[in-house]
Amino acid sequence: MKRLKVWIIVGVILGFVMPGVALAAGDKASELIVVAHTRVLTDTGYYTAFMHYMADAYNANILVFAIWCTVLTAVYGAFLGFLMDFLMARTGLDLTSRKILEH
């Protein structure tokens, strides 16, 4: 119990020290870019092709960009949900009920 309290105190102190260190090294956010810069996307590959497509949609047709953003967010979220569900089921934990019943 005493060791656990020590670990909790260490964790809390680290939790406060680390962001201070990061902030000392960090830089402020830069200016807003209103046109997506597609000329730098010169590599071939599916990832760059996807980035190119999204940047083009952002520049040319914002509605298409908005629809893709919303749909892809929902699809990726659902995919990750199912994937994590599959992985968590293999841990052996009961993930369908909880013992604690209180308000």
Binding site: G15, H37, M54, T73, G81
Partner: protein, 344 residues
Amino acid sequence: MDWLFMYMPIAGIKIFWPGLVLIGFSVGTIGGFFGMGGAWMVTPGLNILGFPMAFAIGTDMAHIAGKSMISTMRHAKFGNVDYRLGFSMLVGTRIGIECGAQMIMYLERLGNVGSVVRWTYVIFLALIAWMVFYDYFKARRKAKTGQVGEYGATGITWYVALHKVKIPPMIHFKVAGFTCSLWLPLGVSFVTGALAGFLGIGGGLLRMPALVYLIGCPTHIAVGTDLFEVMLSGLYGAFTYSLKGRIEIVAVFVMLTGAAIGAQIGTVATKYAKGYGIRVAFGIAVVCCMFSVILKEFKFDAIAAVVILGTIGAICLYIIKIMFQGAAQELREKKKAEASLFKA
């Protein structure tokens, strides 16, 4: 070390992607545990990474929608989501947010309201924190004097009086386990939505305690139901922000990847945490958020960011500890039960 930086095609800059994964993980953990989006936690983190602030809110909104989807799917398996209540609250919240946003735009045309909004936010956060800790100490006093109900001692029970209001239509919320007038969740969600729209926040910080203290939802179901609502309103927010060109979609995917793991930890941790444990931790998070807003008001931005990020770090570690300790205990008990069955 170039591989540690990922190019963002819309913002046109390279970002340290492990930082994005860490932000997603932390917010996923805390959001899954408390049942809120967590936008107030993401912005300082993105600022430190050098993410353009113009894209921060929209990117965060989309990430929160996806993260809430993952958490909702897990909470639904635990039986923590009341869809009927969630949809009722969503209607009220959406109308309320639009009214609140219109009010703030009207006040902005009259003069500078930034400071008024921040101090209003501080007052509401202080009220919420007071409510949470008063509820906890009242419940403890009742438990000590033996005033214990079916599900343990409860502190604040304002919802009991509100449930007695019989304005039709009356609706039964099966998962949450109570019957009340439909106007109660609609009204409460309208008020929290209006406040959220006025203050320019998502509203999870306001909605979660409102679900518990005013509507009478058990804590775990309030967490799951609120996440369901955040998911739907987050998707709507993601669409509107991307129409304004304010989303960096690659950053959304990277943060979601971290959030997928964090959301599982936060959500499963609720299984091993008592309702009041969740509420007290929520109260502490609210107090730290309040201090950071006060510090920002007095232009101590760096210290405000340290307070927020320190709070996130500490609460994350606390939730991870609950989850792993609880899971280890459950697996130990399961092994013991299997061993004794085998012996028999």
